[in-house]
């Protein structure tokens, strides 16, 4: 009957053993290899790399395996690991105009220099369950062609920029310090570099819902998908000791440039404005939502009325992180009985007084009626 206060330790150990057993599932079924995960569930791996803020497909695959496919838990494992890694410094900014393109589309032009390249996409597939996959059917091998040279594909926004129709990218001094939300606490109002960092690791579902809400009129920004591109880009690092840049390798990124309604003022002619999204790996839904949200968060800077949640920095940036959100929501599972006890005492007291008052007033009424 008495819930002994001893036993927590053993209970935890046993719970973890049980979880490990469930994670493995039926042992007559072969265990997943990390390679299988990173090759065949790459979009999950991408999401975990983005939200876990760590570009490492193998570790992301391990996180997904360890978390039984719970992608938020997987992102959390990545975050907890990344925080222990030593920091050498910051890479040079990547140049997405130099992406080795695998997919690139623009919704604003019929054709653009560099072409429309559909690439690997679910778009235009018939969403019919493929039972051949269930039967372990192998996909037909696509024809491979060797291509000659690296073609630099100009950004659509750069083409617009030539005409001055779109606001230029903000130009910062080359030595301007870039904020780092993992090293400094976020304060408000936050500059765009910090906002974009926050969104890049923000929860895809949260950004999707916010972006969607702007499309439905809660802080409308009239967006066009100017360009979405996916491909590999080189990452360079400036070595102080050597005095020059060295390439660290390449990474896959997805980028979205939204072109939004034009603005104008006494000092600047009307021009389109930008919303920007970029994530490591392949995450098209995420970058599109991110670009919508980024544009909405510029409301103050562009002199727009702020009346929707997506335009509200503090609302968006404080709640976008799913590792934080899941921790706090789920912490309600922890024992809270001490607090609850204090509420119990209070509510009993207040109810007792309420009852007494009510009885007293009833008696008064009876007394009055008798008179």
């Amino acid at each position: 009957m008495y819930v002994a206060v001893k036993g927590g330790e053993k209970a935890i150990q046993n719970a973890h053993k049980l979880m490990a057993r469930d994670r493995r599932g039926d042992t007559s079924v072969p265990s997943l290899s990390l390679k299988q995960l990173s090759e065949q569930l790459y979009l999950s791996v991408s999401r975990v790399m983005a939200e876990g803020s760590l570009y490492d497909a193998e570790l992301a695959a391990l996180s997904i395996k360890q978390s039984r496919g719970d992608l938020i838990e997987a992102a959390f494992l990545m975050r907890a690991y990344r925080t222990t890694l030593p920091r050498f410094g910051y890479s040079k900014p990547i140049d997405t105009a130099k992406i080795l393109i695998r997919r690139r589309i623009s919704a604003t032009y019929k054709d653009v220099p560099g072409g429309q390249l559909l690439g690997p996409t679910f778009d235009y597939t018939q969403r019919l369950l493929d039972f051949k996959l269930a039967a372990d059917g192998e996909a037909p091998t696509p024809e491979m062609h060797k291509f000659e040279k690296k073609e630099v594909v100009p950004r659509v926004t750069d083409l617009l920029n030539d005409e001055g129709l779109i606001e230029p990218d903000e130009l910062l001094a080359p030595d301007a310090p870039v904020g780092d939300i993992t090293r400094e606490p976020l304060t408000f109002p936050a500059d765009r570099d910090l906002r974009l960092q926050n969104l890049a690791r923000g929860d895809e579902g949260f950004l999707l819902a916010l972006g969607y809400s702007t499309q439905r009129g809660f802080g409308r920004t009239h967006p066009f998908a100017g360009e979405i591109r996916l491909g590999e880009v080189e990452v360079d690092f400036f070595m102080e000791e050597l005095g020059f840049e060295v390439p660290l390798g390449t990474m896959t990124v997805t980028e979205c440039q939204m072109i939004n309604q034009f603005q104008g003022s006494a000092s600047t002619p009307p021009q389109f404005t930008r919303g920007y999204g970029l994530v490591p790996g392949q995450g098209e839904r995420k970058v599109m939502a991110m670009a919508l949200v980024d544009r909405s968060l510029r409301a103050e800077e562009l002199g727009e009325e702020i009346d929707s949640p997506t335009q509200d920095q503090e609302f968006v940036l404080s709640h976008s992180d799913n590792v934080q959100a899941t921790g706090f929501v789920e912490h309600l599972k922890l024992p809270h009985y001490v607090d609850f006890q204090s509420e119990l005492e209070l509510i009993r007291k207040v109810r007792k007084e309420w009852q007494e008052k009510r009885e007293a007033s009833e008696q008064e009424l009876v007394a009055e009626a008798a008179q």
Binding site: M1, A80, T83, L334, H336, D339, S342
Partner: protein
């Protein structure tokens, strides 16, 4: 709190002593020092991602990690008890990453990390009490915006809080806050004591031990130095009242301590026992007993 830089092994992997790297610990110590210099003021700090979830004590863990040394003796409690699940998990974290001695005895600990309680036994100047804080901002539920609340603190504009307390009295006849009851620290900052029951608030006043508060998700640290004035907010005609229990602890007979209500059966029978498990044990060892027949430890079939 002596020499720190040493590595510890967690399942074969090498992490720094107390998990955090030394640079991070320095950053946290700076925030702690600032907090001590301005009692009750919330110091922003660059909280790290920890290997336990946000909301599960990451702030307290980072503060403890920043102040712990290999000669320390750590006590970890949650809801007043050393054996609640999360207290066990966090204690193991420090055992694995620091190998320091741990204890369940309040008086033997040099650092006590807690969630939701202050031990019954008065703490001494040799001790540090580290609180895990979920929402450090006492004004948050009156004004959700950080930009606004920071201004309100800067201007010492606490009218909104008093209005809230007044409205409670008008509606319920009492201030309807039973835990996380706001306090005024050294006549300057209104502070959230973390979700400790208001029963514990008076212990914070003029405490001999150093009190440190860590909120990891919200990235704030604050502190109450020893011998600091901490006053629970109230009104002259509605003074602050400490929760009182109608009966003593069923096991050790202690009075004027915080009790847990334990439901015994489907018939609604219940008993009240000390929330501070160490305090209760010490008393039992000293020969105190509860009300005859109420001690379930003596009941048949319970061992």
């Amino acid at each position: 709190m002596t020499e720190r830089a040493e590595t510890q092994s967690i399942s074969g992997e090498h992490y720094n002593f107390a998990y955090l790297d030394e640079q991070t610990k320095r950053m946290i110590r700076r925030a702690i020092l600032k907090g001590i210099a301005i009692p009750g003021y919330q110091v922003p700090f660059a909280a790290r991602e920890m290997p336990m979830p946000y909301g599960w004590g990451t702030g307290g863990v980072q503060v403890t990690a920043a102040v712990i040394g290999k000669d320390d003796c750590l006590k970890m409690i949650d809801q007043g008890s050393d054996d609640t699940t999360n207290a066990v998990a966090l204690r193991n974290f420090f055992v694995e990453t620091t190998d320091v001695n741990t204890t369940t005895k309040t008086k033997d600990a040099s650092i006590i990390q807690t969630r939701h309680r202050i031990p019954e036994e008065p703490l001494t100047k040799e001790q540090v009490l580290v609180y895990q804080v979920p929402i450090p901002e006492p004004l948050r539920f009156l004004e959700p915006r950080e930009t606004e609340t920071r201004k309100m603190h800067a201007l010492e504009e606490y009218g909104l809080m008093h209005v809230k307390l007044y409205e409670d009295i008008a509606k319920f006849g009492h201030i309807a806050t039973a835990y996380a009851y706001p306090v005024m620290v050294q006549d300057r900052y209104v502070m959230d004591p973390s979700p400790t029951p208001k029963f514990d608030n008076p212990k914070m006043n003029q405490m001999e031990a150093l009190q440190l508060f860590g909120a990891g998700r919200e990235k704030r640290i604050y502190a109450i130095p020893p011998h600091t004035k901490v006053v629970s907010l109230d009104f002259d005609d509605h003074p602050f009242e400490v929760t009182e229990f109608e009966q003593p602890c069923a096991i050790c007979g202690a009075e004027s301590v915080y009790l847990d209500e334990v439901i015994l059966d489907n018939g609604g029978n219940r008993m009240f026992v000390c929330s501070d498990s160490d305090f209760c044990e010490e008393r039992r060892d000293a020969g105190y007993v509860g009300h005859p027949g109420t001690n379930p430890l003596e009941a048949e079939g319970n061992d």
